[in-house]
């Protein structure tokens, strides 16, 4: 907590704003004490004088020193603004949290009222209330406070609704904690920060609004004076002594800016995702040391003629808060024509990064290095050209995890498919649209010719994913890279999508790279499986060997940890103690050593290379990165080692 606030002050902007706010508040406290009497000294011999050594900002129509009056006016201006913002926040909190306390019906009424009020600009509301409450300081405070209430109510409502939807609120309610208590214990503490930030910005705005009201004569009335009142008086004399208007204008602006900038810097400082301290701490240990090429084994040399994709020593590096982080560390594999290769791993294993890297879709602040990255014999590491774009656009298809968000919501499905053909295949719009209909039909979307005119939200989840595959088929793909294509789908729909991918492979000899966290899915669909852990491939084996002949202890544990329809119900499931290591804090030795029952000193010191295993099944190559590959695993007893402690940070 403390560190987050100090971070706000540490930025140049935040520091400036903080100093300004403190200065303005100090002025409000001490201004009238120091200069209060001097500001009221009338000198009728020296009225409306321009700036001079004696009166730095000149004098007003009674010969009073304008600079002193501006300094003294700070207290009233700030005080009125603060009272107004207290009213606004108070009323806003009351209205904003009312729906939570009142429940469904009553809440809806309050929400509707707030929504109607918030549609009208604050100034208009302030004028409305100013008419009712009359001109003068009290009327203006009430007017500005109440005018600000709807937007704070709306903000509170949104924030409260956000927290109320969290499961911990539901859990507290189920445990029998009352609504009001939940509001004070769980909801308000979790929305306090954004509210405070917005109240600070609101205070700045209230200050400026006050000046606005006073400026048109509806605010503070003489003989009292705030900055707006001084501005009102000064503007009438602007041709005689411009600084009479400019000095209070500058003061109100500076104070308003101070509050706004302070609020903005706090918002920015706190807005950083700090809750996940683990990740931030983890990245610090990342050392940007390039490994020696690890694949000096059997497939160095030129690619075999039927290789579609050839990847050697792939590295993906992203800038982290403290130095670059290697998310993928020396991954090598190839994919042959018509082959299906699965990449499995847990979150943070680098499997999705690998998919994005081989398709050159890594966001451009990430870095991709490889000693080779070839698609159909074309170097993908070469600079981007129109020719390469066409190659990738037509011979590589990509399927993403979430079909809901992967289509542009504002464009029709047909147009989104057709643009591939118009850009890369030189088709006219009409031809491209005909091809889109044809491709949608090919992925088993009924009534494709009317469906092309629909928007993505009019498709169901499974249909969207099929349409996404259809989009990849607009060209003549030699390779489909599917990143968790069924994770967001129901099981029966998942089956349809997997069937479709299999059918496309069979029909056109298209190669497939399937990325998934689900060992069973990968085992079912693929010929070969790459198991990734902490950014490395730890085992590369035939899919048929997964269940029976996996050699790496991680692969074996992964297969056993996941129950399937044949799991022995009398035994506990295998478990892997600890949690996945992120590539960022991979240790010098084997990244899995900390969780591995076979680990010894060598494992912790030396990272094992991905070495070829002797072929034993006749079903294909088998590579494994383990010093103890295939050694029997000690059976972990159910309750042993299960007590988890907080890992030290």
């Amino acid at each position: 907590m403390h560190g987050r606030w100090s971070r706000v002050v540490r930025t140049p902007l935040g520091l400036t704003a903080t100093v300004l706010v403190v200065a303005v508040l100090a002025l409000a406290c001490f201004g009238p004490v120091l200069w209060g009497s001097g500001a009221d000294v009338v000198d009728t011999n020296d009225i409306l004088a321009p700036p001079s050594g004696e009166h730095w900002a000149g004098t007003d129509n009674l010969g009073r020193d304008i600079l002193l009056r501006v300094l003294v006016a700070a207290r009233l201006s700030i005080l009125l603004a603060l009272i107004a913002i207290v009213i606004a926040v108070g009323a806003g909190l009351l209205l904003g949290s009312a729906p939570f306390v009142l429940g469904r019906r009553g809440g809806r009424l309050v929400t509707a009222a707030v929504n109607t009020a918030v549609a009208f600009p604050g100034l208009l509301l302030a004028l409305f209330f100013a008419v009712i409450f009359g001109t003068g300081a009290t009327g203006a405070v009430l007017a500005i406070g109440l005018a600000g209430a709807p937007s704070f109510a709306r903000l509170t409502q949104t924030l409260v609704a956000g927290v109320a939807a969290r499961d911990y609120v539901a859990a507290a309610r189920i445990a029998g904690v009352g609504r009001v208590r939940v509001l004070f214990r769980h909801v308000l503490p979790n929305i306090a920060e954004p509210l405070v930030v917005n109240a600070t910005i609101g205070a700045g705005n209230a200050l400026l609004s006050f000046a606005g009201l006073s400026f048109i004569g509806l605010g503070v009335q003489a003989p009292a004076y705030d900055w707006g009142r001084l501005l009102y008086d000064g503007i009438s004399a602007i041709y005689v002594n411009a600084s009479a208007a400019l000095a209070p204008g500058a003061a109100v602006l500076l104070a308003g800016l101070a509050f706004n900038l302070f609020g903005e810097s706090v918002a920015k400082g706190l807005g950083v995702p700090v809750g996940i301290g683990l990740r931030a701490a983890a990245t610090r240990t990342a050392a940007a040391k390039r490994p020696e090429p690890t694949s000096h084994d059997e497939h160095v040399g030129t690619s075999a003629p039927d290789v579609v994709l050839d990847v050697r020593d792939l590295e993906v590096t992203f800038p982290g808060p403290s130095g670059p982080v290697r998310l993928v560390r020396g991954v090598s594999f190839d994919v042959r024509r018509g082959e299906a290769v699965g990449i499995v791993g847990e979150s943070g294993s680098g499997k999705s990064m690998t998919a994005l890297a081989i398709t050159r879709l890594i966001a451009d602040h990430g870095r991709v290095d490889a000693s080779r990255l070839d698609l159909l014999g074309n170097d993908l590491l070469a600079p981007d050209t129109a020719v390469r774009r066409r190659l990738l656009g037509t011979s590589l298809a990509m399927v993403f995890q979430d079909p809901m968000t992967s289509f542009n919501p504002t464009r029709r499905i047909g147009a989104q498919l057709a643009e591939v053909a118009t850009h890369h295949q030189g088709m006219t719009r009409r031809e491209a649209m005909a091809r889109a209909v044809d491709r949608l039909t090919a992925v088993r979307i009924p009534d494709a010719d009317s469906r092309v005119r629909q928007y993505p939200h009019e498709f169901s989840g499974g249909m969207r994913q099929r349409a996404m595959i259809g989009m990849g088929l607009m060209g003549e793909p030699a390779l489909i890279v599917a990143d968790e294509p069924t994770t967001a789908l129901d099981v029966t729909v998942q089956q349809q999508v997997l069937d479709l991918l299999a059918a496309i492979r069979d029909a056109d000899d298209v190669a497939l790279v399937l990325i998934s966290h689900d060992v069973t899915v990968v085992g079912e669909v693929c010929d070969r499986v790459l198991v990734m852990y902490a950014g490395r491939v730890v085992e590369d084996l035939p899919a048929a060997a997964l269940a029976t002949a996996a050699r790496h202890p991680y692969t074996r544990a992964l297969v056993e940890a996941v129950p399937d329809m044949a799991t022995d119900l009398t035994k506990p499931l295998a478990t892997i103690p600890g949690r996945p290591v992120s590539p960022a804090d991979a240790p010098p030795g084997c990244a899995y050593a900390a969780r591995c029952p076979l680990a010894d000193a060598r494992c912790r010191a030396e990272d094992p290379p991905l070495a070829a295993e002797p072929e034993r099944h006749g079903s294909g190559r088998h590579r494994v990165a383990c010093w103890h590959a295939g050694e029997p695993l000690p059976r972990v007893h159910e309750t042993d080692d299960l007590v988890e402690t907080v890992e030290s940070l």
Binding site: A172, E524, T575, P580
Partner: protein, 248 residues
């Protein structure tokens, strides 16, 4: 007798009927698995049981009496899917657990009870002082289980409690569920879209589709000799059941 009974339960949101006339019994000391795809109404049924969703018809009883949804004690507790959303980020694990405990007892007694509960779910009692951001997904889910147990429930509803976890952690939580059921004789309504997971923990299985219950019975029977077409379809869709596609 503290069977959890759903009697012709219907839940409507506006014009959509999320749960449509479901009758289901969760017998005391048993684990009933409730399976179905997204939108089948299985989570809504659970939320209706704990009072988070309004009933439009039917009744939900516990041991013959309506389930209390106001005040304490609350004999029906729930564990949620997302371990990142189910713990208040500003409260320590211990505070979250303690909040659900019945009122009363000295400070020391309450602390001892929190420690006992954390040990029950195989968490180091040191975790009581940690805020959720310092805990892993699996650890958070254990805290959530401990919190549910803290209320001394007669029935626990577990709503997709493993689907947001990494596969290597999922197994440990499933083992824990089985262990708690065996050792405490806990009654559990275990909701999941994953048939293999349900098969592993549940003795009875109920299948929902489009808000209706299409089939229920002993797990061994439903999962091997399904009576309803939809159950058969679900079973056929479980990955790893068919021969690998590359060879078909």
């Amino acid at each position: 007798m503290s069977d959890l009974r759903f009697d012709d339960v219907t839940v409507r949101y506006g014009r959509t009927t999320a749960v449509d006339g479901v009758s289901l019994t969760v017998p005391e000391g048993e684990v009933v698995g409730l399976v179905g795809e997204s939108g089948s109404g299985k989570s809504t049924l659970a939320r209706a049981a704990v009072g988070l969703a309004p009933l439009s018809g039917g009744r939900i009883t516990l041991g013959g009496a309506p389930v209390p949804t106001r005040g304490r004690p609350r004999p029906l507790q729930m564990v949620f899917q997302d371990p990142y959303s189910s713990l208040d980020p500003r409260m320590t694990a211990g505070e979250s657990v303690a909040e659900a405990m019945p009122p009363g007892g000295s400070r020391a007694e309450r602390r001892a009870e929190v420690e006992r509960l954390l040990e029950l779910v195989h968490l180091d009692p040191v975790c009581a002082g940690s805020v959720p951001s310092r805990l892993s997904g699996g650890q958070r889910q254990r805290v959530a289980l401990a919190r549910a147990l803290a209320a001394r429930p007669r029935v626990v509803i577990a709503d997709e409690i493993t689907s947001a976890l990494d596969v290597s952690v999922q197994g440990a939580v499933l083992n824990l569920v089985r262990e708690l059921q065996r050792e405490l004789g806990l009654t559990i309504l275990f909701i999941s879209h994953n048939l293999a997971v349900v098969r592993y923990v549940a003795s009875h299985v109920a299948v929902m589709r489009h808000g209706r219950l299409v089939e229920q019975g002993p797990a061994a029977r439903v999962l091997t000799e399904p009576a309803h077409d939809y159950t058969r379809e679900l079973l056929a869709a479980v990955p790893g059941r068919t021969t690998p596609r590359s060879q078909s």
